[in-house]
């Protein structure tokens, strides 16, 4: 491993820890809190997300003058995938990072969620490779 690779790994892990820590302290890893957000009983986490989005948009669009942008056109799986993911979120807790956070917090049942995610990921990749052949939207995989 050369210097640059080592540096990248350290940064990646540092951000990962910060991400997990923040998600936990915000409450995104708590089903109770998530549910309250989704039924509009508590707006705190929603504002957290909206605020993070506003600030990030400001940083990328203005401060960094669009030097850091991604390309995400609408494609075949956008809506259906979004709906499925939303259902999964309401059932099990959220962005694939959440069960990882929960595991760190000691919630061992998150192992079932992770098992489900891994199964789903493999299942979709298999279907995509052998049956769906949906546009990946990018020449870099």
């Amino acid at each position: 491993m050369n210097d640059k690779t080592a540096q990248h790994l350290v940064l990646k892990v540092a951000f990962g820890v910060l991400l997990g820590f923040s998600l936990s302290r915000i409450g995104f890893s708590s089903y109770d809190e998530l549910h309250r957000m989704f039924v509009f009983a508590d707006w705190r986490m929603f504002f957290t997300f909206a605020g993070a989005l506003m600030l990030t948009t400001l940083m990328f669009q203005v401060v960094f003058r669009r030097r850091y942008t991604v390309s995400r056109p609408i494609h075949k799986g956008t809506v259906a995938g979004g709906v499925l993911f939303g259902l999964g979120w309401a059932l099990a807790g959220g962005c694939p990072s959440i069960p990882l956070v929960q595991l760190g917090e000691g919630r061992v049942l998150a192992l079932f969620t992770i098992a489900g995610i891994v199964t789903g990921v493999f299942a979709f990749r298999f279907a995509q490779r052998n049956y769906l052949h949906w546009d990946t939207g990018s020449c870099s995989t």
């Binding site: 910060l18 923040s22 039924v39 995400r72 917090e105 979709f124």
Partner: protein, 216 residues
């Protein structure tokens, strides 16, 4: 307000998540997202193969550039005359402005799948540290009161978690991103695909939650 034991106010959470999203992209050059990482770990064989090709390309940058140039000239010869003349004219115009040979662009070598696994593990570590520092760590076999009231606390709950996980796994791969990848990174790049995906998953989660609340 004790920031270690109570849930963070919205502005602090916003700052933290934004710092991660921006800092990650800025320092690593790749957008921050978790579902993509799961995908790359699942496809570790293909990742290793592509990585090996990229490493060869990076090591032999000069030869790669030579081949690209030779192939370009060969491909040019195969164009219909009209097009070929046009491309050659544009090439001459460009040539007039700079030296014929320039240093080869560097091929970016992707991370080893193990690095991706380390990232996933570090997220769990973050959760661990948060729970420890707030004095709330403990081996828990439930997902909170709300969850138990909806889905019980035994095998039925475990099955729902697994199925929910599958929905997340399939859904994020299908949509090409998650709350972080589309919700934060994609939306902040003003991408229509991310707006759509985010709207879809938020709306679905809200509707589903109301249904659970009403029926369960």
């Amino acid at each position: 307000m004790n920031l270690l034991t109570q849930y963070w106010p919205w502005w602090l959470g916003a700052l933290a998540l934004s710092f991660v999203a921006v800092g990650y992209f800025y320092s690593l050059g790749i957008p921050c997202g978790v579902s993509g990482v799961f995908g790359r770990v699942a496809g570790w064989r293909e990742e290793l193969e592509a990585r090996s090709t990229e490493m060869s390309m990076a090591r032999n940058a000069a030869q790669v550039q030579e081949q690209m140039m030779a192939e370009a000239l060969a491909a040019l010869q195969e164009l219909p005359e009209e097009e070929r003349k046009q491309v050659e004219a544009e090439m001459r115009a460009a040539q007039a402005q700079e030296a014929a040979s320039a240093p080869a662009a560097t091929t970016v070598v992707r991370p080893h799948p193990a690095a991706h696994l380390a990232f996933l593990a570090s997220i769990a570590v973050g959760g661990l540290l948060a729970a420890l520092s707030s004095g709330q760590w403990g081996l828990l076999t439930d997902m909170g009161a709300t969850y138990s009231s909806f889905f019980g606390s035994g095998p039925s709950a475990w099955l729902i978690l697994f199925v929910g996980g599958m929905c997340v796994g399939v859904g994020t791969q299908m949509a090409g991103g998650c709350t972080l990848g589309h919700g934060i990174t994609g939306n902040s790049s003003l991408q229509i695909g991310s707006f759509t995906a985010t709207a879809a998953f938020f709306a679905t989660a809200v509707v589903a939650s109301f249904i659970f609340k009403a029926l369960l």
